[in-house]
Amino acid sequence: MLSPATRTVLDVRNMTVELPSGADRKYAVENINISVKAGEIVCVVGESGSGKSVTAFNVMGLLPRGLKTTQGQILLEDDEDVLKASPERLRDLRGTRMAMIFQEPMTALNPVMRVGEQIAEVLQIHTDMSGAERRKRVLEMLKLVHLPDPERLIDAYPHQVSGGQRQRIMIAAALTLDPGLLIADEPTTALDVTTQARILQLVREMQERRGTGVLFITHDFGVVAEIADRVVVMQKGHVVEQGTRDEILRRPQQPYTKMLIASVPSIKPPPYVAPRGDVILSAKRLNKTYGKKGFLFGGGRVVHAVKDVDLDVRRGETLGIVGESGSGKSTVARCISRLVEPTSGHIEIAGQDMSKLSSTGLRDLRRTVQVVFQDPYRSLNPRRQIGASIIEGPMNFGLSRADAVARARRLMGEVGLSPDALDRYPHQFSGGQRQRICIARALAMEPLLLIGDEPVSALDVSVQAQVLELLAEVKKKFDLALLFITHDLRVAAQICDRVAVMKQGEIVEQGTAEALFANPQHPYTKELFDAAPGRDFMATLEPVA
C-alpha cells in the first residue's frame, strides 16, 4: 500500500455552489475547503440545510438540477478535477475512483434485480471480466462485508434481505473496484442502533484494510465520535470549524460547534425522584395481534405486535419506551390512544376502565389522552391554518370558538411561539416550531396523559434539545403523565424518569432510568447500550458550558 498519510484522495478547494434565485440564501455552500487523505475518515457534520449533502453530491457529479457550481475545484487524487470532467469521464470515475453509499438502502437498490447482478454491474461496465469471473469476484465481496451465506444471497432480491444487509450490499458494490474515495451520505441514519453499530464497524474495517479515504456525512455526534479521524462542521453553507476528532469534540473553538455538542443528550440520566402523583395510566396484559383470519385465500399468519405489556404512569412522571423498529413500542402508544384496538388487555386511565368503552366513552378518553407524533411535517393538515388545528379539539367538546381561540393564544405563548402566528399555515414554520404547535394542540385538550411517539426523532439535534426541554416544562406545569416513545437511548436518558425496554412486542426490562442506565440487566438492553454510537467517547467528554 502507498503511504496512506501522504496521499490526498479528495481535495475540495474554494467550492461555491449557487442556489436558484428565490431560495432563502444565495449559496448552498460558499467557499468551502475539505480534503480527505487515503485511509482517513472525514466526518462532515451539520444540521439539515447546512450544505453537507450538496457537497457530497457535487463530488460525485450528481448536483441536483437548478444548482450551479460557480467557483472552485474538486480534485480527485490530486490530478482529476471532477468539475471539469465530461459526463463520460465522470461515468468512468464513478465506481473506479470514487463511490457513494446512500441513506436509504431500500431505495438505493433496484428491487427487480438480483443482489449479485447489481454488484456485478459495476464490473460489467468498468472491466472486461467474463460472467464467471464476475460472479467469483461478487462472492468475494459479499464475504468481505461479512454477509452470511453469500452463495444464497447473491441470487436473492433486495426485498428478501434486511436493511442492514442491504447497506452491506451497497458497501460491497461501492468497494468492488477499490475506489480511492468512498462517500457515505448518512448511511446509518435509517438503521436501528445495533445494526448501525455493525455497519460503522464495517466501514471502519474496510477503510483500514483497503486504505480508502471516506467522506462521511452525518448529523449524529455519536457517530462522529465513533469513527471520525477528522471532523468538518458545517452551518448554512459554510465550514465553521475543522480539525481532528479530539480537537472538535473536546476543545471546540466556535460557538456553533459548542452549541451543537452541548445539545447532544448525555447518556447519564438525572437522579431518580419518585413521583408522588396518582396513577394516570395503568395497562395490564396488553396484547395486539395482526393477522388475517383467512377469508377464502391464504391468511393464518399472525404477528404478535404487543405481547402481555404491563405499564403504569403517574401524574408528573415520564415513562420512556425504548426499542428498535418493529419492537412494538409505537403499537403500545397507539393502543393506549385507541388509534388501534388492542386485541386483549386492560387499560385504565385515571381509574376508569377504558377497555369496555362505548363510543361516547371513547370520546371522553380522547380528551384525556393526547399524542404528539413523530413527523412534524405531516402531523398538521397543510391546508389549514394552525389556529384551526389547535381549536379543533376543544371545539369538538363544546368550547365556543372565542374561548378556544383565547386558549390557543395562551398556549402559543406557553410553547414559545407568538400568539399572532395562529393564522399562518404549517409550511410557514420550521420542523421544531411545528412540533411546538403540535404540543400546543395536544395541551389545548387539557389532557391527563400526553403520549410522545418519537416526537423529536425527525428534528436536528439543537432543535431536539429545545423540544425536549419544552416537553419537560409543560409536563411539570400542567402536571401531566408523559409516555415517551423513542429509539434513542440518549433522548430517553434526558427526559425519562423510568424506562421500559421493548423487544419483539415484549417488555424485556423496566426500571428507573438511573438504575437501568447504570446497570442494565437484560442481555438485549446491554446490547442496545453497547451499540449506542460514540458511547465511550461521549462519556469522557467534559460537559461544555
Binding site: 442556489l19 432563502d24 450544505g51 397543510p382 369538538n396 385538550m445
Partner: protein, 309 residues
C-alpha cells in the same frame, strides 16, 4: 439523502399562496389554454346555436337530399318572405341541414359529458370515501365495483337503453354506471393513503367526529385529482354517447347528435363523405380539447400524479 437539499430553501421560506399560485400555474400551461379555449368555443357554439344562421335541424326536405357543402336553396321564412340559404356542410339523405344538426348536436354531447362527469364524481366520491374509511364496508363495496367494471360498457348501455325508453336520461345512466367504479377506486386510494397521515390520526385523537373528519381533512385532498378525472370522464362520455347513437341505441335518431348524424351518413359515406366528416371533426376536436385540458390540469394541480403516469 437529498432531503437536505430539498429542505434547505423551504425552511422558513416566505409563504407562497398555494391556491392562487395553482390557478395561475394552470392558466400558464399551454395545453390548459388551448384545450380550454376550444372547449369554450364549442360550448358557446352550442349555446348560441339558434343565432348562428342555423335552421330547424329536424326539418326534412325530401327534394333537397344529399347535397354537397355549399349548395343553396330558397327557404320560406316565418313572415312569408323568401331568402336564400346556403347549406354550408351540405344536407343528409333526408334533406336535413348538416350544419344546423352539427351545431345543435354539440348541445347533447356537452350536456351528456358534463352530466355524466358531475354525477359520477358525486356518486363515486361518496362511495369511495365510505369504502376507504369504513374498513368493513371496503371489501363488499369494492367487489361490487369490480363486478360493475367487468360488464362491457357498451353492452350495459344496450341493456339499459332497451329496458327503458331511449332518451337522454337512459343514455346518461348507461354511461354513468361503468364510470362510477373508476372514481370510487381513485377516491378510495386517496382516502386510504390520507387516513394514514398523522394529521388525520391527530384529528381522531382530538375527538373529531368521523363525518367532520372526512369532510374537513380527507375531502380537500381529493379535489385536485377529481377535477382532472372529471375532464377525462367528460371526454369519454361524449365518445360513448356518439358510439351508442352511431349504433342506433342511444338518443332517438330525430334528435341531432354527432353520433346520430354520422350513423345517418354511414350508408352513403363513399359518395357523400361530408355527412360523417363534419360531425366527426367536431367530435374529435371536442374530445381532444377536453383531454388536453385534463392533461394540463393534472400537470399543474396534481404534479405527483403526473410524474407517476
Amino acid at each position: 439523502m437529498t432531503t437536505d437539499v430539498a429542505n434547505a430553501p423551504a425552511e422558513e421560506a416566505p409563504a407562497p399562496r398555494r391556491k392562487a399560485s395553482a390557478i395561475r400555474g394552470a392558466l400558464r400551461n399551454p395545453s390548459v389554454i388551448i384545450g380550454g379555449v376550444i372547449v369554450l368555443l364549442i360550448a358557446l357554439l352550442s349555446i348560441a346555436a339558434p343565432r348562428l344562421g342555423t335552421i330547424d335541424p329536424a326539418e326534412i326536405n325530401p327534394a333537397f337530399r344529399n347535397k354537397k357543402p355549399g349548395a343553396e336553396r330558397t327557404i320560406r321564412n316565418d313572415d312569408g318572405t323568401q331568402s336564400k340559404y346556403e347549406h354550408r356542410f351540405g344536407t343528409d339523405s333526408l334533406g336535413r341541414d348538416v350544419y344546423s344538426r352539427v351545431i345543435y348536436g354539440g348541445r347533447v354531447s356537452l350536456i351528456i359529458g358534463v352530466t355524466v362527469a358531475a354525477l359520477s364524481i358525486a356518486i363515486g366520491l361518496i362511495i369511495g370515501m365510505i369504502a376507504g374509511y369504513i374498513r368493513w364496508l371496503d371489501g363488499p363495496i369494492m367487489r361490487v365495483m369490480d363486478g360493475l367494471m367487468a360488464i362491457p360498457a357498451i353492452l350495459l348501455a344496450m341493456g339499459v337503453v332497451s329496458l327503458s325508453r331511449a332518451g337522454l336520461m337512459a343514455v346518461v345512466i348507461a354511461i354513468l354506471i361503468p364510470e362510477v367504479p373508476r372514481v370510487v377506486r381513485l377516491v378510495r386510494a386517496i382516502v386510504l393513503s390520507i387516513r394514514e397521515e398523522p394529521y388525520v390520526e391527530a384529528a381522531i385523537t382530538l375527538g373529531t367526529p368521523t363525518p367532520v373528519l372526512l369532510f374537513r381533512h380527507v375531502l380537500p385532498n381529493t379535489i385536485a385529482p377529481l377535477i382532472v378525472q372529471a375532464t377525462f370522464i367528460c371526454a369519454s362520455a361524449i365518445l360513448v354517447e356518439a358510439i351508442l347513437s352511431f349504433l342506433g341505441i342511444g338518443i332517438p335518431p330525430d334528435v341531432p347528435t354527432w353520433g346520430n348524424i354520422m350513423a345517418e351518413g354511414r350508408s352513403l359515406f363513399r359518395v357523400y363523405p361530408h355527412n360523417i366528416l363534419y360531425p366527426g371533426i367536431f367530435l374529435a376536436l371536442a374530445v381532444l380539447a377536453i383531454n388536453m385540458l385534463g392533461d394540463g390540469l393534472r400537470d399543474t394541480l396534481d404534479p405527483r400524479f403526473a410524474k407517476r403516469v
